[in-house]
Each structure stands twice: as C-alpha cells, then as structure tokens.
C-alpha cells in the first residue's frame, strides 16, 4: 500500500511539475473586431471576401484603429480580425506563431527592437514590392511618414514595416515647484542631481526629487539608457560586442543608483512605466525622465492632478562628446508575415491603418500623441491636445537616437541581462562596475556565439 502510494505521489509530482513548467500564462486576447462588411460589390473591390488576422499591441493607436475598422471593411470588402494584446505578451505570442509557420497572423505590430529578430529569422516580408505596386499602393504615402520613423523600419535600405506610432524620451519637471524652490531646469546630470537634492530637502522629503523606472528588465533599461548615452557610453563597440564594462557605463549606473537611492521615492526598485507615471501624475515627485507619451497623460485632467504644472525639456547630458543622442527613438510598426496567405489584402490594411486620414481621426478618438504621420502632426487637434509638450517632443524625436537600445536580433537578452545589473546596483547588491561587468560577460558570450 505504501509503495503504491509512493509511486502515485511520484507520478503526481512529476506530471504537475512538468505541467507547471509550461507556464500558465494568461491569454490576454483582447476584443476581436467584427465589422459589418458587405456593401456594394464590384470591380473596385478585388479582395472582397478575403479574411485577414492582425495582432496589435494594446495602445491608443490600436484602439482607434479598432473603432474605425468598419470603414475599411466597407471600402474593400476584406474582413479583418483584430486581436489586441498587451505589449509584454505581444512578442512571445507573435514569435510562437511565426516559428510554427502557421500563418495564423497576417500582420503583427511590434517594437523595432523585436523587428530585427523577426527579420533575422526570416519571419517577415520585405515591403518594397508592395510600396511600388501601383494597383495597391493608393493609401501609401512615403513622404508623409516622419523620416526618422520610416528609416527605423529599414534594414540595409530594405523596408520591413510601416510605422504605426513612435516616441522619444524627455525630462518632465514641475514648473510650480521649480519656481518655489528657485531651481533652474537641469541640462547636465550634475544639475539634475542638485535639483533632485534641493526638492528633497526643501520639501522635507514629502516630494521625491526624481522618479525613474527601477523594475528589472526592459523597464529600467529603457530609462537608464539615457544616462548610458549621456555619460558618453554605448551599447556595442565597433566589433559588435557589448561595451558595458566601460567607465562611462559604470558612471551612468552609479549616478542612477545614487540619485534614486538618495532622492527617489520609496519602492522605486519595483517601478515600471505605470508606477512611475502615476507617482508623477499624483504630484509626489518633482521630476521624471520617461517616454514622451507620458506628456499626454500629464495633461489629461481625467488622469492627472498636475495639469498645466508640468514643464518639458530635453533630457540632460553630461558628456561633451557623446557617442549618440541621449533621448530614445522608439518606433512601433506593422510587419507583414511571410506565411500570410493574403499578402495583398494584408498590405492594403496596413497601408490604410497607417495613412494620414486614419491617424488624424485617431487623435480625436484616443489620446494618441505618437502619430507617425507628418500631416497628423500639423493637424489642429494635435496642437490643441498636445500643445504643452509638442515642441519638446518633436525636438526629442528629431534628436532621437535609433541605437538608443541595441538594434540586434539578440537585443531582448542583452536588455534583460543589463536590467538585472541595474537592479543589482540599485539594491546595493553589487557595485555598478561589477554588476555591469557581469552583464557584459553574459552579453558577449551570447553575441560571440553565432
């Protein structure tokens, strides 16, 4: 009896651990658009009756596209199944479908950081044959895209995606507090430290001098990279290996942990984009450096208690001779799957969804400050909604660094290793230099094993 029980327990354990290992990831499949198609038939609808599936990132642009989708379905007769998932689940979902070569999604929207991996593995289609095909490129207007965004979608001059939205990073500060405490807007990291210190001291610790993201992984890396470039460091050297063991990188990480540990909010080591944004919106911090889209949240009375009190400035830099700009340039685009069975219909959808008419409409539907169309940026609704930070945002995009995050197929792993190093230094587990050395070794092992 005992023996049988023992084997029973063994089997139970074995199966459950294996099953557990598979990961119980919540399937966050969002709404699926069902449009009323039909309408008139005729020779102007050569793709009528075709059906395509699109995987979109949870973002204001995607929500807007979902709302105006019936217009596209009516115009072309193509049925579009939209699936919207959060950014953090997007890439693994896309990759699992890509790697099974199932053609489950005709179009996938993602960050260019992951786009390099897609292109490298041969999952996505080069778009040049579509942009030049006069019978299906009516919605495509190359000159209307922000040039930096469009260039970011190209690898070796071949275009692989259409930019959906883009953003950069800038410094957000509380104008009222700066005036009260007599602080001038920092342009170097030393001034940033002094400003954080002044706020912290004069408010007797009530208001954090600065808040930044500390959560390990892409979260802290996305903001820390500003300091890496600003102190004169870089991700990759000429040999294509990582350059994080440099004194500049160590200085950047040391600064990051010092300013947060001395003048940052409690719990910053677990702050992602959301926590960081909320703390600043609630008026509990005087400064933050983050994505330009945060401007739209700061100025939204439904979201924020500091509307009109926020000043926007380019991110500070320290080095006179940086190897690249300290503000990011992030572009998220739509990619066309190689396994798609209706590539022409899919292309029609992606060129329609990124065209200026739709982007202009999207701004009145959702707080979408990241439009990728120049015409949308000159539209009056762009000015009225995002006027408070528009100029600084455009300047940041203009100077945005496309290499802000490493643009290589293995970028995700490099970012994860670095994120752990930042977290270790932030918690005081390791010195900045040691933590970065560790990440650097891991990265180089990865990059040299080709």
């Amino acid at each position: 009896m005992n023996k049988r029980l023992k084997w029973g327990a063994f089997a139970l354990l074995a199966t459950s651990v294996v099953i557990g290992g598979c990961g119980n990831k919540a399937d966050n499949a969002g709404a699926t658009g069902t449009g009323a198609s039909g309408a008139t038939s005729g020779s102007d609808m050569p793709y009528k009756g075709k059906e395509i599936s699109v995987l979109l990132e949870g973002h204001s642009t995607s929500n807007a596209i979902q709302k105006i989708l019936p217009e596209f379905e009516q115009k072309t007769g193509i049925k579009v199944n939209l699936e919207i998932v959060p950014y953090s689940d997007l890439t693994s979902k896309a990759l699992i479908n890509f790697s099974s070569r199932s053609g489950r999604y005709d179009i996938v929207m993602d960050d260019i950081v992951h786009g390099y991996g897609y292109v490298n593995a041969g999952y996505v289609e080069p778009l040049d044959a579509y942009t030049t095909n006069a019978s299906i490129n009516a919605d495509f207007d190359e000159a209307d895209f922000v040039p930096q965004y469009l260039n970011a979608m190209k690898i070796d001059k071949v275009m692989y995606g259409l930019p959906v939205y883009g953003e950069s990073t800038f410094l957000m500060y509380r104008k009222d507090l700066f005036e009260e405490y007599g602080i001038k807007v920092p342009t170097t990291f030393d001034e940033l430290m002094t400003a954080a210190k002044t706020v912290n001291e004069k408010s007797k610790g009530d208001i954090a001098g600065i808040t930044l993201r500390g959560e390990q992984g892409i979260q802290n890396v996305y903001v820390w990279a500003t300091f890496l470039w600003g102190f004169g460091g870089q991700w990759l050297n000429e040999q294509g290996l990582t350059d994080l063991a440099s004194p500049e990188a160590a200085k950047a990480l040391d600064f990051y942990q010092e300013i947060l540990n001395k003048y940052g909010p409690t719990g910053v080591a677990n702050f992602g984009w959301q926590e960081n944004r909320l703390l600043f919106q609630q008026g509990k911090a005087a400064m933050t450096i983050d994505a330009t889209v945060n401007g739209a949240y700061n100025e939204d009375p439904k979201e924020s208690s500091i509307v009109g009190k926020v000043g926007y400035a380019p991110v500070p830099t320290q080095s006179d001779n940086p190897k690249g700009g300290a503000s990011s340039l992030t572009v998220h685009g739509m990619y066309l799957s190689k396994e798609s069975k209706n590539k022409d219909a899919a292309w029609l959808f992606m060129s329609w969804a990124t065209a200026k008419e739709q982007q202009i409409k999207s701004m009145s539907i959702e707080p979408n400050s990241g439009v990728s169309s120049l015409a949308a940026m000159q539209d009056s609704s762009f000015l009225t909604k995002f006027g408070a930070f528009k100029d600084t945002m455009l300047e940041a995009i203009e100077n945005g660094n496309t290499q802000y995050l490493p643009q290589i197929p293995q970028s995700n792993e490099v970012i994860n290793n670095t994120g752990v190093a930042i977290s270790k230094a932030l918690l005081g587990n390791k010195s900045a230099a040691d933590a970065l050395k560790e990440a650097n070794d891991l990265n180089n092992k990865l990059l040299s094993a080709k």
């Binding site: 005992n2 029980l5 023992k6 327990a9 063994f10 139970l12 354990l13 074995a14 199966t15 459950s16 651990v17 294996v18 099953i19 557990g20 290992g21 598979c22 990961g23 119980n24 990831k25 919540a26 693994s92 990759l95 699992i96 890509f98 790697s99 991996g117 897609y118 490298n120 593995a121 041969g122 500390g214 959560e215 390990q216 992984g217 909010p265 409690t266 719990g267 910053v268 080591a269 677990n270 702050f271 926590e275 909320l278 703390l279 609630q282 509990k284 197929p409 293995q410 995700n412 792993e413 994860n416 752990v420 977290s423 270790k424 932030l426 918690l427 587990n429």
Partner: protein, 291 residues
C-alpha cells in the same frame, strides 16, 4: 466473479490510460528533442547540440540561486499555510452562530484567480499609496516600508500573498478531516482523564495525519510551480530577489526566446524536485508506518 468484474472494469479504464500515456510520451519526447537542440525563436537555423544545454545549466549560478529561492518560497509558504490552516480548522470546529457564513467567507481568497490576487496585493503593497503602509503609519509602525522593492522584504511579501490565498485551501481539507473524525476515541480519552493538550497531541493529530499529508503534498506541489503571483507582483525582481526557477525559465523562454534552454531548466528542475519530494514523502510515511 469479483475478479471477472475487475477485469471488465479494466477495459473501461484503458482508453483514458491510453490517451494520458500517449500525451505524456509525446510531450516528454518533444521536450527531450528540444532539450538537445539550440532553438531560439529569433534565429532561423537550429542545430543538434547534445548535452551542451545541460552543461551550461550546471554552470549557471542564476539557475541554482533560483532553485534555492523556489525551495525557500515553497517550504515556508506551505509550512505557514499548514500551521494557519490547522489553527483555523480547530478554532472553527465548533458550533456557533454564523459558522457557515464564516466558513464561506474564508474561501473567497482561494476562489480568486492568482493573477487578480497578485494585482490586488501589488496595489496593497504600493509603498507610496498602498493601504498596508497607510494603516501601519496610522498604527505608528512606520509608513515607508518598501514591500516589493527591497531585497529583504520582497520574498516575504510574496509569501504573505501566497499564504493569504491558500490558507483557506488547507483549512478546507483539515476541516473536512475534523468533520469526518470519529468521536469515540476522543470521548474515551476524555473518560481516561486526558487533558485537552494531551487529547490534541495523542488523539486528534494522529487521526488528522492523512489529511495533513494530503494538504502538505498538494500545497507543496502547487507552490513549487507558482508563477502567476510572482510574475504579476515582482517579475522576479528586484535584483532577482523573488526569481524562482519557474520565473527564470519563463524569462529564458519567453523574454530571451531560448526555448531549448528553458526546456532544459524545467526538465532538470522536475527531476530534482521530484527526487527531493519523494524522498521526503517516503521518510514521512515510513516513520508513520513504524509507529
């Protein structure tokens, strides 16, 4: 006659066994296939690498540290849950007004989806706007506790959330055990003049041992594979403080896309954990048999 019936019953069990068997063989076989290759989803080619992944894992200090954290998490969470669950079951094992209501209310955490309870606890733990720090401040115990953002508290905070969610489950099993317990031995002990403590140690506990064992096994298996609440609350951070093996395998598989390496981590961990627990289990049940 009975033997015939039993044989006939076997035919009814066969299809299920067959399906389960095929499924586990296929899944296991495919896992082993992945384990000896170097599949990474952002690479277009893969090749056979033999035991390279296992060798790499052997030298991977992050994996071993995560295994240690898995043990710390599982053993302490399960231990506390058993203790609290037993206390609750004994305390509520009597007649009082509202007994049913109290029992029902106790089960609410267990019914909740772990992702949801993780999110709730994440909000509770928020160091600047969370309810826990607020009330601790009101009670004069300081309002600046860095629950999820510090090395020393992050693991404890996650364990607290797990205990909150799963103590009711232990309570449920033990309460059922207490309900099913015969009254005669207790009465006999009482007649013989045993004190309440003696009665608890010498009568109630031995009779409850099978229930305790089931609760222990189910909980320890479950907590070894805990993923959701850690994923939601800390993502394994800060500074890897809450990175259990499952979390690490997730990061390798779904953030770094090293599918093969993630498989190797899970396979190895499965073997190790199974070995440890079967040893523990046979020790525990062996000592019981001797007595």
């Amino acid at each position: 006659m009975i033997r015939q019936l039993r044989n006939r019953a076997n035919y009814w069990v066969m299809p299920v066994l067959l399906i389960l068997g095929i499924m586990s063989v296929v899944v296991m076989g495919y896992s082993i296939y992945m384990a000896v290759r170097d599949i990474n989803l952002v690479k277009s080619v893969t090749s056979f690498v033999g035991f390279d992944n296992f060798v790499a894992l052997f030298h991977d200090s992050r994996a071993w540290a995560s295994l240690w954290r898995t043990l710390v998490f599982s053993v302490s969470a399960t231990g506390i849950e058993l203790l609290f669950g037993l206390g609750l079951a004994l305390f509520l094992n009597r007649q009082f007004v509202g007994r049913k209501l109290v029992r029902t209310l106790l089960l609410i955490p267990m019914i909740m989806t772990p992702v949801v309870s993780g999110l709730i606890w994440r909000v509770f733990y928020d160091p600047n706007a969370g309810i826990i720090n607020y009330y601790m401040g009101v009670l004069g115990m300081g309002s600046k506790h860095n629950w999820l953002g510090s090395m020393d508290l992050a693991m404890i905070s996650v364990i607290i959330a797990d205990v909150w969610q799963w103590t009711p489950f232990v309570f449920l099993i033990l309460a059922a055990g207490l309900d099913a317990m015969p009254n005669e031995p207790l009465e006999a002990a009482e007649v013989d003049g045993a004190s309440p403590i003696q009665r608890f140690i010498h009568v109630v506990l031995p009779l409850l041992a099978p229930s305790l064992m089931i609760a222990f096994l189910l909980r320890i298996i479950d907590s070894v594979k805990t993923f959701d609440i850690i994923y939601v609350m800390t993502r394994g951070g800060p500074s890897l403080a809450t990175e259990t093996t499952n979390m690490y395998a997730y990061i390798q598989g779904f953030n770094n896309f090293n599918i093969s390496y993630a498989t190797v981590i899970n396979l190895t961990i499965t073997v190790i954990i199974t070995f440890i627990f079967t040893t523990v289990y046979s020790k525990l049940s062996g000592s019981k048999a001797r007595r």
